[in-house]
Amino acid sequence: MDRKSQLVQGLLFGILFGFLLQKGGATRYDVIIGQLLLEDFTVVKIMLSAVLTGMIGVHLMKRLGWVRLSPKSGSWSQNVIGGLVFGVGFALLGYCPGTIAGAIGNGYLDALAGGLTGILIGSGLFAALYPGLRDGILKKGYYGDVTFPRLLKVSDWTVIVPLSALLGLMLLLLERAGL
């Protein structure tokens, strides 16, 4: 596929993604911090219903041979340490790298002047330290691009069916609890 149509497609899909995040309320600091304070479960509801819908669709398309999936490679040190550092930043800023784009579109200047500047600095800092990290700590506990079905040596659907039920049940319980 040529580069120009890739870029146009990216832009159009991005407009839809930003639109949906804003309509869901996820471009707001108050909603995101409300989730992290366990008071408002909007963000978890959006994420779990996206994962549930997406998971079934992408695996059906994989089964039909329409798409190839690309699970990310990782290691314990990469995903646990990076994940926790990310989490601290997530709570301080109140936006994540995706919702901050939406927040900027919503007119939130703390996202534009503060958060965006910070993310660019943090990314540049990582780039500077990358050679040392890559050959050192990031390799510890390496497990590659393994998925749960491969780890458990079962078919995709043996994981998807019970996982879908579990995610559905979690959403039901959240509603029941009035959250």
Partner: protein, 172 residues
């Protein structure tokens, strides 16, 4: 056409919409939804402005080239999509201090911006360390059942919840 101006939508409607969007990006463009790598590319583009082409030779930027790609346009589109939705919903406004922040920490702009920069640095650094963010790991990776993404997504929220409870606990 009331749904275009209604706000907020049910989180389930927004979430299922994002789920369907993730089918389309994969089927049409061959890419799962992700965001954070684009900020790293942008950091490289900015570095290039100051230090020239030798930036491209850095090991990190040899892997994550400082160029505009599909995902970069996705993130740019998100700014516009959210703007469009906010306008249609009557929710667009210029705002320095979020309501919830002001209630806990006051209305000093410099404090809010300082903490936002600090949070952003950790987000940028952490997402590169973990290899993704709330979109790439949290949504696209978990739906592909990747171990790396489930571990990351859990840690995003563990780190986020503990930190949020701590800073809001101190303020209270």
């Amino acid at each position: 056409m009331d749904w275009l101006t209604a706000w907020p939508w049910s989180p389930y409607a927004a979430g299922m919409g994002i789920g369907v969007l993730s089918w389309l990006t994969l089927y049409v463009s061959g890419h799962p939804i992700g965001c954070s790598t684009s900020f790293a590319r942008t950091a490289g583009m900015i570095e290039k402005l100051f230090r020239g082409r030798k930036v491209e030779a850095k090991p990190f930027y040899r892997e994550i080239r400082p160029v505009v790609d599909w995902q970069w346009m996705l993130v740019a589109g998100m700014v516009f999509g959210a703007f469009l939705s906010a306008q249609l919903s009557g929710d667009f406004r210029w705002q320095w201090i979020p309501t919830r922040w002001e209630a806990a920490f006051g209305d000093d702009r410099l404090t809010r911006i300082g903490v936002s920069v600090a949070g952003g640095v950790l987000l940028g650094f952490g997402s590169r360390w973990a290899g993704g963010c709330t979109s790439g790991h949290g949504i696209s990776g978990t739906m592909q059942l990747a171990l790396s993404s489930w571990v990351s997504a859990c840690c995003f929220f563990i780190g986020g919840i503990v930190t949020a409870l701590l800073i809001f606990g101190i303020a209270a």
